[in-house]
């Protein structure tokens, strides 16, 4: 295994564990404000200090990890659940009107800057974690659809698919039973990358106030809240900033590492 894979997996697992732990335990209750205790520096009773309401920042990071991961995970889930079948369908009906429709539809979604549309969606339907998930999820659909189609098309030319067709299997069955298993690696790698982009998008939407609403903790909103405090209590901005940085870095390294690790050609070369 490569170093990238180990560092990436380590960071990702760390944050996922923090998020999981927050379900049963956080050092402090983040819904209880403790205003006299505000803006404490890291160290002491609060390991990472307190924010402008006297809330424990470590606890908020843990709860925020949960929000980020949940939003990104579901958004990637939406992208995969809709994008992969669309991509398979387009590949199976290659050259047909349906293929054209699906791919031009994808182009249409791609043509818009994703964050702008996400802002539009959350602005129209109200700011909430659920709408943020939908907004981010929609932009994952064409990513997966296009990737799936691209990877599936050459497979359709392969002999084993030809054999399956000769056996009388329908295009749908071939897609599910033969094409899909052969592109899984690719999807996992892309899923990891999209996951990290989802974390970033969630942080961006929360930063401008369109993501999860208080009192749900969110890294992006922690950053926004800390904006005017940077000069008097830098840790309030640095801690969530580094959390986002490390989580996204970890997922990107993980995606990179997984690609190398799962790619049979590279693996053979290494052996």
């Amino acid at each position: 295994m490569s170093r990238n894979l180990i560092i990436g997996a380590g960071l990702s697992v760390l944050f996922i564990c923090l998020a999981a732990l927050s379900f049963i335990w956080t050092p402090y209750d983040i819904e209880a404000l403790d205003i006299p205790n505000k803006l404490q520096a890291p160290g002491g009773a609060n390991l990472l200090g307190t924010d402008h309401f006297g809330r424990d920042i470590l606890s908020m990071i843990m709860m925020g990890a949960r929000t980020s991961i949940a939003v990104a995970l579901v958004a990637v889930g939406i992208g995969m659940a809709l994008g992969i079948p669309l991509g398979l369908l387009a590949a199976a009906r290659h050259g047909s009107l349906l293929d054209e429709l699906i791919m031009r539809g994808n182009d249409l979604v791609f043509a818009f800057p994703s964050l702008v549309i996400a802002i539009l969606i959350t602005a129209v339907f109200g700011a909430s974690a659920v709408n943020a998930i939908i907004a981010i999820g929609i932009f994952n659909i064409p990513v997966f659809a296009r990737l799936t189609r691209g990877a599936a098309l050459p497979l359709w030319e392969r002999d084993f698919i030809l054999a399956a067709r000769v056996c009388g299997k329908s295009a749908a069955r071939i897609s599910v039973e033969h094409i899909l298993p052969n592109i899984t690696n690719l999807m996992i790698v892309q899923g990891t990358i999209q996951f990290s982009l989802g974390i970033l998008a969630e942080a961006a939407l929360s930063y401008i106030g369109l993501g999860a609403q208080p009192p749900t903790a969110s890294w992006g909103r922690m950053l926004a809240d800390a904006q005017t405090l940077v000069s008097i209590a830098p840790h309030t901005a640095l801690v969530p900033g580094f959390a986002i940085l490390l989580m996204v870095l970890g997922l990107n390294l993980l995606g990179d590492g997984l690609r190398d690790w799962l790619d049979p050609r590279i693996r053979v070369a290494r052996v």
């Binding site: 404000l33 505000k38 208080p214 009192p215 008097i232």
Partner: protein
């Protein structure tokens, strides 16, 4: 001659470069940009912030301490029964377009404001006027249907400034007033420029020109002041940054009071807030000091009713609603909400609302009331909360001076409908003697405090950050105004 000019020019440049002595212009920043420039037609405070006393003047005006002083009216007589006001106008006053200001303009302005189809945001100010008559070119007589002790005060509002029929059509984009500054340019989204009115009838201002800039983002505001892009920021939006400015020898920080009663607006017609026990429970759930410390970093004075604490008629009613979560839970149980309930909390952009909202949500949660927080931009807030009354709770600062009368309007957005209070306000309007007025105001404050109409939080403070050397800025905000008339740079 050419030589001399060049010499003078280089001397001027030299002065400019070495010292700020010769400075006669100022750049002031405020948070919100006016949506239009018609103080007699728009409700936005930002219109008055820019234009009040600078471009437009009324018959009377507020001074820096909130006292009512002479404006375009140099003197006035009040009839013995208190219903007829005769104003003697200043002579030689011209509007910025050169037309003269006389009694006809006053009649036009007042008639326009009180007309049936008037879009004036404060029509109530003119409600008692039955007739405006021009007696002489510079003498105008206003007749009221009953004595109104507040009439001179009402005429000082930005909504009651004197405008001219000749320039009224374009007032929203090209305001023509009688003030010491003329409007020069407005680059929407960026800045608005004023220039000294050379023909001003009163004392000429020290400044040659002034630029208003509009910076709503607290971080950008901090950066703009730190980088000295602006000479003064009136209503600095981030109280947490004030200690830094105080410690910086380049700046002075002025903290003054405002007429802004910051309240937890409660929809009195929406269940369960139609039940006074629930409203009382909310009042006891609130810890004002935590809100002032947490949201305003200590700036603000707790209030127990809808009245400014620096007003002589203020009654301290904080004892009606001390922070007492146990009492709040008891009251909720008594009202039939032992398990609490869920409501909405819609917050406009200022940090007193956004941060205060999070704190109040936590305090309400503590007694069993869950709130769904929605952050709204001002336009959305006006639409959803103010116009459509689609809210449970909201937080907003009511910055109009002496605005307890809004509680007598059952259609006002928090929908408080109490005939006793409405009768009291009628009586107040008919009372001119100060002691009697204060008694009635005390009664009014007590009624709304004991009815727990809204959650009364604190009186908003206003912070002004200015470069050292800027003098004459208003410290307090008796009305929304950035009066530049007396502003100058120290020698």
């Amino acid at each position: 001659m050419y030589q001399f000019k060049r010499l003078a020019a280089s001397a001027a440049i030299g002065l400019w470069a070495t010292t700020a002595l010769a400075q006669d212009s100022i750049t002031v920043a405020i948070q919100l940009e006016p949506p239009n420039l018609d103080p007699t037609g728009g409700a936005a405070q930002a219109i008055d912030s820019v234009l009040y006393a600078n471009v437009f003047e009324g018959l009377t005006r507020f001074d820096a301490d909130g006292a009512i002083i002479r404006g375009l009216a140099q003197s006035w007589d009040i009839s013995a029964d208190g219903t007829v006001y005769t104003f003697n106008l200043a002579a030689g006053v011209t509007f910025h377009d050169g037309t003269t200001m006389d009694a006809e303009d006053v009649k036009f302005s007042l008639d326009r404001a009180r007309a049936e189809d008037s879009t004036n945001a404060q029509k109530g100010l003119f409600a008692g006027i039955t007739d405006v008559t021009v007696l002489e070119p510079l003498v105008v007589q206003v007749t009221l249907d009953q004595p109104n002790g507040n009439f001179l005060f009402n005429m000082a509002w930005g909504d009651a400034v004197i405008v001219a029929p000749e320039s009224i059509a374009d007032i929203a984009s090209n305001p023509i007033g009688t003030g010491p500054f003329t409007f020069t340019d407005w680059v929407q989204g960026d800045r608005l420029e004023l220039t000294r009115n050379a023909d001003y009838w009163g004392d000429a201002p020290a400044l040659e020109s002034a630029t208003f800039r509009f910076i709503s983002d607290p971080t950008a505001a901090f950066a703009a002041v730190m980088a000295e892009d602006v000479d003064a920021f009136i209503g600095f939006p981030a109280p947490e940054n004030l200690p830094q400015f105080e410690a910086d020898p380049r700046f002075q920080v002025l903290v003054g009071n405002t007429e802004g009663e910051t309240i937890l607006s409660t929809n009195n017609k929406m269940p369960p807030f139609d039940n006074v026990l629930v409203r009382q429970a909310v009042a006891h759930a609130i810890d004002r000091q935590a809100i002032i410390d947490g949201a305003m970093f200590g700036l603000g004075t707790p209030i127990g009713t809808h009245f400014a604490p620096h007003n002589p008629a203020y009654v301290d009613l904080l004892a009606n609603s001390p922070h007492d979560p146990d009492r709040a839970r008891e009251l909720l149980a008594e009202a039939g909400f032992a398990d609490g309930f869920t409501t909405t909390l819609k917050l406009p952009p200022p940090s007193y609302a956004r941060r205060g909202g999070e704190i109040i949500a936590a305090q309400l949660r503590d007694v069993g009331i869950e709130t769904e927080i929605t952050n709204l931009e001002w336009a959305q807030w006006i639409e959803e909360v103010f116009k459509n009354k689609d809210f449970g709770l909201s937080i907003v600062s009511h910055t109009e001076p002496m605005d307890i009368g809004i509680y007598a309007n059952p259609d006002y957005y928090f929908q408080y409908d109490n005939p006793d209070f409405q009768a009291l306000m009628e009586e107040l309007n008919a009372t001119t003697d100060p002691a009697g007025r204060n008694d009635l105001l005390a009664k009014a404050q007590t009624i709304i405090s004991e009815d727990y109409v809204n959650g009364y939080l604190f009186e908003l403070a206003v912070a002004t950050v200015a470069k050292v050397g800027v003098q004459g800025l208003w410290v307090n905000q008796p009305t929304a105004a950035v009066d530049l008339t007396g502003v100058s740079w120290a020698e």
